[in-house]
């Protein structure tokens, strides 16, 4: 046991030649810059990176713009072909594009047409059976059978009750604009055996609903997210995973372009 001796000389520090302050500071700076650089790389590459999805641009004509969408029970992607999905029609060639990104001019009347090829699914909150935020708070619905016969013609309504009659396939909602639109499905019994099975769907041989409504785009530009409120992500927690939580399927952005 070594006794403490207050008179003993102070012990010299051990170790070799000390690293200079400048070298230590430089090492710290380099380490700091590496960490910050990695953080910025991850943020830019994974979060802020350019989307691979195309954006469909709609130009105004006569103060209006016509947006055309369809929702299908499947899609033509190679990775997730069984996911329910929206499509956007390119106005330049009328081709359906598998994307959920589109742009419209600011402060313009937007006329939307949605072709509903998917079958019905009750809303989790039937409150969204109510049409909100469109001009007149209504939509106009037509329904067709697989032979092209129009069995409901241009019915204008403010409610499509998804619980009473299972008429709602999905919804088109832009919460930031307080726009909530239930999208009609074709008749459930017709859908049961004749649902479109190849996307993008066409009216030929498939029952479908056609729904139209209008709203004014915001005065100022910006990105407005839109989504479906039907829990249509089959096989995922609460039905809200998968296509519901993936841009390009059941949610996307409406880019409002200010002039």
């Amino acid at each position: 046991m070594i006794a403490y001796d207050p008179c003993a000389p102070l012990v010299k520090k051990r170790g070799g030649d000390p690293v200079s302050v400048a070298a230590r500071a430089a090492s710290l700076l380099v380490a700091f810059l590496v960490v910050v650089g990695l953080g910025i790389f991850v943020a830019l590459y994974y979060i802020g990176g350019q989307s691979s999805l195309p954006t469909i641009h709609y130009a105004a004509s006569g103060g209006q713009v016509n947006v055309v969408l369809q929702e299908d029970p499947q899609n033509n992607s190679s990775s997730k072909p069984d996911w329910v999905s929206y499509y956007v029609q390119d106005p330049s060639n009328n081709q359906w594009v598998h994307t959920t990104l589109f742009s419209v001019p600011a402060h313009t009347k937007v006329n939307v047409t949605i072709y509903g090829y998917d079958g019905c699914t009750p809303l989790r909150n039937n409150f969204f059976s109510q049409v909100q935020g469109t001009m007149g708070n209504t939509v106009t619905v037509s329904q067709f059978d697989q032979h092209g016969k129009e069995y409901v013609t241009d019915q204008t309504t403010s409610v499509i009750n998804s619980w009473a009659n299972c008429n709602v396939g999905h919804t088109f909602a832009i919460p930031g604009m307080n726009l909530y639109v239930p999208v009609a499905s074709p008749n459930a019994q017709l859908s049961a055996n004749n649902l479109c099975s190849s996307s993008p769907c066409t009216p030929s041989g498939n029952p479908y609903a056609k729904e139209t409504f209008s709203f004014m785009s915001p005065v100022h530009g910006g990105d407005f997210r839109w989504q479906c409120l039907v829990p249509c992500g089959g096989g995922f927690l609460d039905g809200n995973g998968g296509p519901m939580a993936t841009i390009g399927y059941m949610s996307g952005f409406m880019n409002v372009v200010s002039s």
Partner: protein, 320 residues
């Protein structure tokens, strides 16, 4: 022959104490008189007002502690740093009764003070705007009534419903009408019944100082009384999926007459549109599986035909 005597050590303790007391006093005065009036979440409601007071008191309590730690650190670096060429170690320390006693007594007093203050401030303002679960032990005073009208200090019941990724609000005293807008009357005790239709969300009405988790099949109760007119930002404060960051909307505190007019108007419209009849009966937890309409025969509504469908149970969604 002359001998050089080392200069006597200054009284470091006294020095530190004097510097500390001046800095701590200055910091506390700045916190209380300059920062406090601007502290979040403001004082738009009783719960927000209490939270603002609590944060100010905690800041005044904590600032002297923080200042002491930083002061001691800086003082040590400046006064007790090694001189050039001095590679020796410092003298060993074997204990100091005064320092140890001061530390134990000081920290005990601070912790006990925070415990008592925190408890009083949680109980006094009826939970301070936090969710208290389905059976709150601290309740807010107000007249319970099945209907609501201005001027009677009647407790307004508001059900807050979270779903991926939007909020809606249901008012049982107005026929169970539902809205995407949170409207509240000023100077009125409000009970929020916070719930969810799917995953866990969290209702955070920032300016009202109300924050309560929204759990499926749970009625999480929170109270407040709005004391000023204005807008309220409602955010989800529980990571809930892709659009969690966009899950917000705005509410408004209006005068009691304007609120009654708005609520009655929405109720009348939803009644005439058939929306009220389409909603499940009001319950403290929002159970969308109660769908009396399902199973009915093929029917029509507004000329649009359909057929009976089925509801996707939350735990087992399936695609038709």
């Amino acid at each position: 022959m002359t001998t050089t005597q080392a200069a006597p050590e200054p009284r470091h303790g006294l020095r530190l104490f004097l510097i500390w007391i001046i800095l701590a006093l200055a910091a506390d005065l700045i916190i209380w008189f300059v920062w406090y009036p601007h502290m979040p979440p403001g004082d738009m409601s009783t719960s927000a007002h209490h939270q603002q007071f609590d944060i100010a008191v905690l800041a005044v309590t904590g600032a002297p502690v923080v200042i002491f730690v930083i002061l001691y650190f800086v003082y040590s670096l400046v006064i007790w740093r090694a001189k050039p060429g001095d590679d020796s170690d410092g003298e060993p320390i074997y204990g100091n009764i005064k320092v140890q006693a001061s530390w134990i007594i000081g920290t005990t007093v601070i912790v006990l003070w925070l415990f008592v203050f925190g408890t009083v401030e949680l109980a006094g303002p009826a939970g301070a705007g936090a969710g208290e679960g389905p059976s709150p032990i601290w309740t807010l005073a107000g007249t319970q009534s099945a209907t609501w009208s201005p001027g009677g200090n009647i407790m307004l019941q508001v059900q807050v419903i979270g779903q991926q990724w939007t909020w809606t609000y249901r008012y049982p005293q107005f026929g169970g009408m539902e809205s995407t807008q949170l409207m509240l009357p000023v100077d009125t005790p409000v009970t929020f019944h916070v719930t969810s239709l799917d995953v866990i969300h969290s209702f955070w009405a920032y300016q009202l100082g109300v924050k309560a988790d929204a759990n499926p099949q749970v009625d999480n109760v929170a109270y407040t009384t709005a004391k000023a007119l204005g807008s309220v930002t409602v955010r989800c404060s529980e990571l809930c999926g892709l659009w969690h960051g966009a899950m917000f909307n705005y509410g408004h505190v209006v005068n009691q007459t304007a609120f009654a007019s708005w609520a009655s108007g929405v109720q009348a419209k939803e009644q005439s549109d058939g929306v009220l009849a389409a909603l499940p009966p009001y319950a403290l937890t929002y159970d969308p599986t109660v769908i009396p309409q399902l199973g009915s025969a093929l029917g029509t509504i507004d000329g649009i035909t359909g057929a009976s469908g089925f509801y996707y149970p939350p735990g087992d969604p399936v695609q038709p």
